[in-house]
Amino acid sequence: MNFILRILITGISTYYISSFFPWWSIIFIPFILGLIFDDNYISHFLSSFIGVSVSWFFLLLGMEYQTEAILSSKIIQILNINSTNSLIIISAVIGGIVSGLSSITALALVNIFRKKKDKRDYRFN
């Protein structure tokens, strides 16, 4: 449940990021979620990865549909990529990796403090 909730929060908030912010502002929400939710590294990475890449995927798909791939069909030749679909997937994966990394960084930060607390608890016992 926790996992799916995180995907939804990441996905929806990423979808509505303004074009005035730099692209890497996608790292903030996963970072905050990494701080808040208690889960393991793999689960955090995946939830952020899926949230952002699916969000980007649909954003790009929508734009492609609206613009009839007028520009992406030219860009793939410059970047040497075989189809516009691949380009969309590559873009989405890039977004996913960056946000996934961000969420587990937050988790690692939390874990520094958590372990300390655990130790203290142990001593009290």
Binding site: I17, S18, S19, F20, F21, P22, W23, W24, I27, W56, L59, L60, M63, E64, Q66, T67, E68, I70, L71, S72, S73, K74, I75, Q77, I78, L79, L87, I90, S91, I94, G95, I97, V98, L101, S102, I104, T105, A108, L109, N111, I112, K115
Partner: protein
């Protein structure tokens, strides 16, 4: 501890991933920045033009302005004063063409390496050494002393800058995102650099250094035979036999006028096909009593197009036509009363002076019995991803020393200063601002007084029924032969002798023939009292144009269109009757015979679907290669005789020392050359068919006209455009070069002025806009569109796709 390490590791990993994706590495754009859906390249797609126009924000207006766009995306600007008019022109041009505007300036001023890296270094250094920015600064200083011109130019600059100010990464043109840089502020200087780059493109092609070398090896007699200045077949712009009502005393050439010098290589030259054609037809020669003006500038075919079409309307102006993105007003166009167009006058306005320094400090050079001081300028060439390169350039009173011990000099480390008319201060901008609002032929003629260069043949027609042509520009007075070869910078007798006064310039008004025309040919025959010269006068198009116009009567719009799209190869018409009979048909096999019979029956029209033009061009190229192979062994920069001379020599000489092919032991005759070339040509055409998997060698497929993006990005370019013609043909579309704007204007006393035009490209310079390739297809086929041209915006209703009024806030 383990968690701390993990945290530090992940922090570094995340931030370095973001860093890597936010920066450019070895020419791959910053992927995160470039591919993200918020402001990456995807947002540059423009399918709905209205959405593009909705972002227009003209915020520094003095009064209200109405902007309309027609279906070709031509902006129609209706303003209440001239400042607002040019402000809006600047803004709207930048809206469609900002990247191109800035890129062209960077290219002209030699700052491309800053953007694209070391691959532009050689070019940048040449531009610096030619002193383009130096020239622009001088023209700028002179032009702003005219306060009216200054005001209008500044409004235009403000318009561009207000557009730039509105931009953020999302709205940067795609090329900025690809190369990962930002638009800079526009300046008046940049507008003048643009004008100098036109001068560079059109007037900075010379062969003085090459010819100096050729003269020294060939000797005067042979040199003059291979590179003649004039031929009686030429139809000059001002017809032969024209009497001049002035006389000047000829200057005697000094005793020592020639040098024996050579340079291993000279700076890059602009395309020799940079030319054009224009003509005007008087009402007496037209079907419906209209006068016609047709103008067709032949330039490199690029995307975004060099031209941007605008319609400018204010109480002072109502003008339309082709403008240069980066410069206000209209360059080739019309208003309700007059129409004008330019072709390059080609005349030699660049000379080279050999300079002798006093000592190694290079601070002084000899001039007569004195020593003059040089001015030292250090140019910093910034190179993306590398250290800057510093180039020291010395300026003499002639101009910059282009070749010296640091750059392209010969073993003797000689120095050559460039004397180029474009380095002089001038006010040509005024000419266009005056032309745009000219009302009659007198207005035009007096506007041309201010035009210094690049020297152009201005043809014009008026509503009153007058036509004319003036070869406008600043021309030095020279002694016979001066500046054909390298001059002696230490000899004051080698200086230019002032300038030809405007009253003595070449001009025709309402000639009896009922037409005027030009196509980069000789301006006049040798009876003109002043010495003139160019190594590059065109030998074919001018004659074809003249003969077409001479033979036609009751000319209509359709006739004019036919002339602009005329595919007749005058070169083939003159050469084939000489070389075809020399082919030994008995030795041809079946297929070769087929080629032979086909070309024998060819009517010399280079139409896109014929195979004969492909054969002729290949055959002729091989003939010239074999005939002039002696030149290929030369160790310094040289040029070869042109096609016209080649034809004349084959026609008039059964025996000629250059006929022999020096790579064989036999002594070849001209028949051998022609026959061998024919067989080689058919061979190479057969090979072409095989490699391209085609059954025939239609001219359009063989010629492969392409219109390339300025960065040569393939998917931003159009290849294999279907279009006829070739170089030396009126429809001058060659591989990468051709008519960059076809315009026809009809002016009639009793009717509204009508105009038609088409150019190979679109108004929008954005490869993501569906207008980007624009009218390329129609251009190739010679389909023109009538231009929407009304004095009042109300008459445009129903014919525009967008309209908005902007108010002074």
């Amino acid at each position: 501890m383990k968690n701390k390490v993990l945290f530090i590791f992940l922090t570094l990993l995340t931030s370095s991933t973001v860093f890597v994706l936010n920066n450019e590495f070895s020419n791959i754009p910053p992927l995160g920045k470039f591919l993200n859906p918020y402001n990456g390249f995807w947002t540059n797609s423009e399918i709905d033009q209205r959405k593009v126009f909705e972002n227009i924000s003209l915020k520094n207006l003095k009064d209200s302005v109405i902007v309309q766009y027609d279906s070709m995306l031509i902006p129609h600007i209706y303003s209440n004063n001239d400042e607002d008019l040019f402000y809006a022109q600047g803004y709207l041009t930048a809206l469609h063409r900002l990247w191109q505007m800035e890129f062209q300036i960077k290219a002209a001023s030699g700052e491309l390496s800053e953007i694209v890296g070391a691959r532009a270094f050689k070019r940048d250094r040449e531009q610096r050494r030619k002193g383009i920015t130096y020239a622009a600064n001088r023209t700028l200083n002179k032009s702003i002393s005219d306060s009216k011109t200054y005001k209008l130019l500044s409004s235009y600059v403000d318009g561009i800058n207000d557009y730039i100010e509105n931009l953020n990464y999302k709205s940067y043109p795609i090329e900025y995102k690809l190369l990962n840089y930002k638009p800079e502020k526009w300046t008046l200087l940049k507008t003048f650099i643009l004008m100098e780059s036109m001068s560079d493109m059109l007037s900075n092609r010379d062969m003085d250094i090459e010819d100096t070398y050729l003269l020294s090896i060939l000797g005067e007699k042979k040199y003059n035979l291979l590179f003649p200045e004039y031929n009686n077949k030429i139809k000059p712009i001002v017809p032969s036999g024209t009497k001049f009502n002035f006389n000047i005393s000829k200057i005697d050439p000094p005793k020592n006028k020639f040098f024996k010098n050579a340079l291993p290589s000279t700076i890059s030259k602009h395309d020799k096909d940079n030319g054009s054609n224009n003509f005007a037809i008087s009402p007496i020669k037209s079907k419906d009593g209209s006068s016609f003006l047709a103008s067709q500038p032949d330039l490199s075919l690029n995307l975004p197009s060099i031209w941007y079409i605008v319609h400018l309307n204010s109480p002072n102006y109502n003008t339309m036509g082709a403008s240069l993105p980066g410069a206000p007003g209209v360059i080739i166009g019309f208003n309700d009363n007059v129409a004008w167009g330019e072709t390059n006058a080609t005349r030699d306005v660049v000379d080279w002076y050999k300079v002798e320094f006093k000592d190694h400090s290079r601070s002084e050079y000899r001039y007569g019995d004195k020593w003059l001081k040089t001015e030292k300028i250090i140019e910093e060439i910034k190179i993306k991803g590398e250290k800057s390169f510093y180039d020291t350039i010395f300026y003499t009173h002639y101009g910059p020393i282009v070749y010296d011990e640091n750059f392209n000099s010969n073993q003797q480390k000689e120095n050559y200063a460039m004397r180029w008319i474009a380095h002089d201060e001038s006010v040509e901008y005024k000419t266009f601002l005056l032309l745009n609002k000219a009302e009659n032929i007198f207005d035009i003629e007096s506007a041309l007084k201010f035009f210094h260069g690049p020297a152009q043949n201005f043809a014009y027609a008026t509503k009153q029924g007058d036509i004319g042509i003036t070869i406008a520009g600043k021309f030095p007075v020279k002694w016979e032969g001066q500046g054909k070869f390298v001059l002696d910078g230490s000899n004051p007798e080698h200086e230019w002798n002032g300038y030809i006064p405007y009253e003595h310039s070449l001009s025709l008004r309402n000639p009896e023939s009922g037409f005027v025309s030009s196509a980069n040919q000789h301006p006049v025959d040798k009876s003109y009292p002043y010495y003139y010269y160019s190594h590059n006068y065109e030998m074919y198009r001018g004659r074809r144009l003249f003969e077409r116009l001479e033979s036609l009567d009751l000319i209509s719009f359709e006739d004019v269109k036919k002339i602009q799209n005329d595919n007749f190869s005058y070169k083939a018409f003159e050469a084939l009757p000489i070389i075809l009979p020399m082919v030994d048909t008995l030795k041809l096999d079946k297929e070769e015979k087929k080629y032979y019979n086909s070309i024998k029956n060819w009517d010399y029209f280079s139409n896109p679907n014929l195979s004969d033009p492909s054969l002729f061009v290949t055959w002729w190229r091989k003939i010239r290669q074999k005939l002039w192979d002696e030149f290929d062994t030369m160790q310094y920069s040289y040029r070869k005789p042109n096609s016209f001379v080649t034809t004349e020599i084959i026609k008039n000489n059964k025996d000629f020392e250059f006929y022999d092919n020096i790579s064989t032991t036999n002594k070849e005759s001209i028949d051998d050359i022609i026959n061998q070339s024919f067989l080689e040509a058919t061979d190479s055409l057969n090979n072409w068919k095989e490699t391209n998997n085609k059954k025939d060698i239609s001219w359009k497929n063989f010629k492969k006209t392409s219109i390339n993006h300025l960065l040569n990005i393939k998917s931003f370019s159009k290849y294999n455009v279907e279009v006829g013609g070739y170089r030396n043909i009126l429809n001058a579309a060659s591989e990468r070069h051709g008519p960059s704007w076809r315009m026809i204007v009809r002016l009639n006393k009793n009717d509204k002025t009508k105009a038609w035009g088409v150019y190979p490209g679109g108004q929008s310079g954005n490869p993501g806009n569906n207008n980007y390739f624009g009218e390329i297809k129609n251009w190739g086929k010679g389909n023109y569109k009538e231009l929407l041209f009304n004095q009042s915006h109300i008459d445009n209703k129903g014919k525009v796709i967008y309209e908005k009024t902007y108010y002074n806030k």
